[in-house]
Subunit: 314 residues, 6 copies
């Protein structure tokens, strides 16, 4: 396989298929239109300008189109940019498809599904187990395909399931060290906490917020879903309220979107586990892009901090 | 009728039936137990000490008991206190019942119900109308009996319905001045916004929070109820999401308990109307207790401010 | 009458008189100067670029000049832009004047003045009535011409009076529902609360802040004016302090510019009424520009929120 | 002279005249009333309990009464308390008056007045000089007698003038180091900044807030006074606005009570000088009461901090 | 062994040795002194009143004295209280010592030391290993005896070492899941992060803050100690700065006492691990004291929240 | 001497040597590269564009190069810009050196050193004096050359020493007015408070943050340095902790970077003196650039305020 667009250095030439993530028309000061293309493959994305674009270019080179590009990498305002020499749309016989260009979780879907199933299997409380199994089954396809967010962390295909699986593993090792934790509540909370995103977000590609997502949010949507599941399964009892509470409170504070803060121990701990996994994901991705002895770009959801990679790290 | 306990002046004698709101045992420095009684009638409440209380007193004079008391009003630490001379429990033939001693909304329940029904009748959008009617019908008894809160505003029997009716009248006159408002959404929002309190609170007397109330809150509970109503009535369409959003956002900000801020006009306006009616209720009750030229006690939910009654007011 | 500039769609041609709101010189990357013109009529404003501008263009096409323009509407970065074909300054015989191009309150000045006079007439307290009448008379011309702000809400000719009249009507209907309110204080407070803007702002057109406005603010200026009025009318008594307090506290909190928070009931309620009318004005103007099923632009003074227009609204 | 009440140690006997600062009735658990007296002399104050107080005691030993007390100092909850053996009201022939017991500024009134006059004399701008002189003359008696606050700093007789004089001296030495400062604005600002307190506060003894003080505050009152002075002296020009602005902004931030923050250099510097003098006053008074190697009590207006007196200080 | 004082129910009699944690003198309203004793054993503490205390009692029953008490448990203001029948100081032949009454970590000191040594042994970077070993050796005795805080979490004998050991175990399992973490930095950071407490706090019993602790804090003290260790070991290189940074930043934010926020990945993760272990400790201790279906007391360092123990937990 | 670049007016021609402060490559919309040069001399800086730059230009005209430029001053977006006609690098025989173009403190280094030495000489406490002298000697060269910051205030060559000397003079006059201040602590605190900047910053020219500066900060670094100095001088005693505390707390609050707030009087006062001198420096520099009757640009570290220069100032 050829190397990803993110790994080319300034001065190198490329000759690659790339996916147009977005295409924006501008008008240059000479009055002529141009296109700003964000091009991506699985390694990341790069900006390119197409000068003197005509009407045809605008419609040919729109978002979600795969193109074949020859050009050079140069440096502009502290970032790599692609100088296009030639560009054309991909042809059928080239056998490329959109999914080849999307970043995807590093674990296969079926492996992740097996893991989740195993954790559900380990639950001892039948009410918790049945509600969890019911909801996973109901939303299985989306759970395995959706990203966990539109940006910031796990913003890639299958990001949601990947985030869940990482958190389940964390929950397990932490529960062994603090055996007073109720693993049924914790595992179920992990699996359900972000599942409302399958309603909140539009899908795995070119992800945006739905109207329901904007006006209600994944937390409230999921609290509803749990109520509905319990009703359909004729389950009554405090377990339902506890699961709803864990989902409701998992952002930790009212100002972060949880109308109630965690008020049971497993809800509090789930909030830490969620944070830990999300922050590790952000930090690893940011630090991968710098060399030892350098600082990363500012990371907005980490209070806009920049992180240093010690020079004795590799 | 005899005047209420709140209207006696220092030095006056009383000979009244009163309801024990709470009874707390203390131990005096001479080692003997005493009871601190909070006594109430419809006008308000007063503290009294019962010194040298024996085991029997403790069980006789517990919360929710009606007693006959003779005593004197005196002044202690800036507040009136009742010095008990004689106390006994009320007897059957005296024909007094707990509800005689509870503060109650100034409008009759059936009048309030009629008003609410009229507003529902005026709605034009059938989806909004049917959901609203369904939920009012389902919770009618509680809606007409519950308070709107445990303290701060409308914290009396039927306070919830009274708050709703006042807000409906406000919504109507405001909508006439700003005809772009959708009165269907606004009226329905007013009627439903606090209806989750019938789950959140324990009931009209000695009101406390339920476990569901503590861990989920009336907002999330009501969003669920709307979803359930829509499903039972087989209603689909954006109206459901809009009503859920209005309820969800009616506290105005995340830090005040709304996971989403108002994002449709009627939600924003409902937030103001709710505020206006609640604050008027607090202000009127606080200002009633002072004379012109005086300041009220500090009002906690109004940023702990004290308010002045101009000396040219009566 | 021809339709306003705001109502043209992309692709349409225009041939209109427009007022230049602002004109800024830039230098293109080819080294040649160009002008960025903001053009307006009563419907709103649009941006246009005049490329290759010469010295003469710069002086001809300055702010407050009326021009005749032929051109096309196209789309640039999510907003309409005007592509100029021909431009010339308006000529005397064309009978156009600056005021034809300014947004203006939807009610005539004399109608608004009549309304305000009527509310003053209804006041019963002679001290309050005389101070209010005196100050309205003193600043009548400006009150009827000034905007209520430089941006955000009621930022148009006669916006100040229009805001006052809307608030008076709100004050009236609210007072009927809460009869404990002192309408004298409330009406006078509404009329005077923003009147200091006639000193704070520079005038009805191309409005900016005066030095006094910047360093003292309309609140402090108006508190002075009330003191002065009372002295000139030889009025003494608590009414003067109450009116000063209402003006002083009408922003609600210290951090919003009120050195004292509301400490009388009418001051608190005026703060809500002011808010309600200002927010309705912002919301209506933002929602007018979108279609059902769309979100508005972010509205900065509404916590930068975006608002949704339900798809069942027209 | 006998030593002050603050300087007696636990175990010592006292036989002193003291002023009753406040007297509060309580009821002991044996049902008998007692009085809690706060007694003061120029050195400070001490608490005493008068057990088994009768009706006569309550009226004899009220606030602002001078009493002769014999008793013992003992320790109670980390503070000295006075155990009363005998108490009686002072008699005419004993020649004691209330002012003998009040804490007072350490400089004589006429010396302070002379200093202020000298600073006014040094002003070069006639407008600033005339306004300042006019206002000092108008309020001279109160300026020399009032405290600067009811608590926190300079809360003693003549505290206002003392604070002004200290700040003037600070302003002078700072201006010599930064000669770009306009000493006319700075000196006048210092003299006028808190002068509104003569309206805001009730007087030099048992100081409380007036209604005007509560509802308008000393800042807004003084801005008015400057306007009035300028009018009476027929002074026009930017100096008036500048002086008003300095007074208006001297609390530094909106949330600290200044509707506008400092926007001229002298206003900014005055804010620092005010702070520096007030904080020095608080710190010196708190540190006087502890020994080297100890921490002071928490000082509320200094963010509730406690301060350490280094053990190598005396 | 007899059961701990915390496990007696109301109505039970006790006959136990207990340690006086604090003894405060009060004066009853009958004028006689009494002592408020806080008595403790390893299970927790209880309050008792000793009425009519004489001079001798006050000196006999002071803090850190072991007493033999007979009495009854009763209920007062929602908490258990001990009613003393007889009290005397413990006698030599009874073979009780202060340490028998202090809460202590549930793991033996030597086991904890062995664990810490093992983690140091696993470090691969010699600079990090040598600094860590040097500092642990230098402060070994205190590290194994001090509490981790004066209150809130791990506030018991050997609490500091217990907190370190728990965190090391957490660090290990988390590092296995996120192999990009540098375990040398993480283990060393865990071991050193709170070691400055051996200077900040006064010791394992009746713990208070030292002057250095108050004025510099354990974070700054430890940053110094690392510098000193590096100098004594002649170690230069970025590892020193990294370890100092981890200690410096471990409170996470400036307002929580870290002058720099975490800026390397291991510092960020250590902050979470610290939080997780501290919060688990608080939660477990609070939840132990309530029954299923009940709420705990409010926990101040957890934003003053109360936590629910689900009724299906045992 | 020719006048500085900052003092040329629009339309004037220049023919000057200037230092390139920074040089950034851009690509124009015609696809050709250009350079944005920031040029400086001691009076300040100006922007210039070099169009159609070739490879050679990019390397010739890099930061820290001195160039000879002919060109015209014109106006662009509210700021002066330089239109380059001819540009070349300076030649050896022209005898210009980088330091000729850098802004520098207005007092000579040796004069500042003498002043600092004099203040050290006046100290009476030998521990404080020896530590201070030791550290000044150790860092003398850097202290006299470094700026006090990278931006905001005293951001010029020798700015650090100049800030120290101004503060020492302030400390002296303030201590005379408040004789309870310990001048030893205050003078030493002033001299040492920012000395850690010689590690935090990279040097006097093109100043940036070092890694140690970023991860530890000048405060923590200096606290270490004091400990080290005390050890090398074998000084023990509370003075060391006090000096460390003054440095540690000089930012005043945790959120401003001080892990402990000031807890001794001299630390509190030093914080004010630091503020006063820094703010005077910012204000003087901003006000110098505007004419009477104008407002300055917004000053970010002064809460983004703009300041007015009264029209009666010159």
């Amino acid at each position: 396989m050829s190397k990803g667009i993110l790994h080319y250095e300034v001065g190198e030439q490329i000759d690659l298929h790339l996916l147009i993530k977005s295409s924006t028309k501008g008008i240059a000061s000479n009055g002529k239109p141009f296109l700003t293309l964000i091009l991506q493959d699985q390694s990341g994305e790069i900006e390119a300008k197409l000068w003197d674009a005509n009407q045809g270019d605008e419609s040919s080179y729109s978002a979600q189109t795969i193109v074949k590009i020859m050009g050079d990498i140069h440096h502009y305002r502290g970032r790599n940019q692609l100088k296009i020499r030639t560009i054309r749309t991909a042809q059928d016989h080239e056998n490329v498809s959109v999914s080849d260009f999307l970043e995807t979780a590093p674990i296969q879907k079926d492996v992740m599904m097996e893991k989740i199933t195993q954790y559900i299997f380990e639950m001892k409380n039948p009410n918790i187990q049945r509600i969890t199994r019911h909801l996973v089954k109901k939303h299985q396809t989306a759970l395995l395909e959706y990203p966990a967010a539109t940006k910031n962390h796990h913003e890639f295909v299958s990001g949601l399931a990947y985030h869940v699986v990482s958190m389940l593993d964390l929950a397990k090792v932490i529960s062994r060290l603090y055996p007073s934790l109720d693993t049924d509540l914790l595992y179920s909370g992990v699996i359900l906490h972000d599942l409302g995103k399958v309603y909140e977000l539009s899908g795995p590609v070119a992800t945006s917020y739905t109207i329901e997502g904007n006006l209600l949010g994944h937390i409230s949507i999921m609290v509803n879903e749990i109520a509905k599941a319990a009703e359909e399964l004729s389950i009554e009892g405090e377990e339902v309220t506890m699961l709803q509470h864990i989902v409701l409170s998992h952002h930790g504070k009212a100002e972060w979107g949880s109308p109630k803060p965690p008020m049971i121990k497993e809800a509090e701990i789930l909030h830490y586990i969620d944070n830990l996994d999300a922050k590790m994901n952000m930090l690893d991705r940011a630090l991968e892009r710098v060399k030892p002895g350098e600082f990363t770009e500012r990371i907005f959801p980490l209070d806009n901090r920049t992180f240093y990679k010690p020079s004795f790290h590799k």
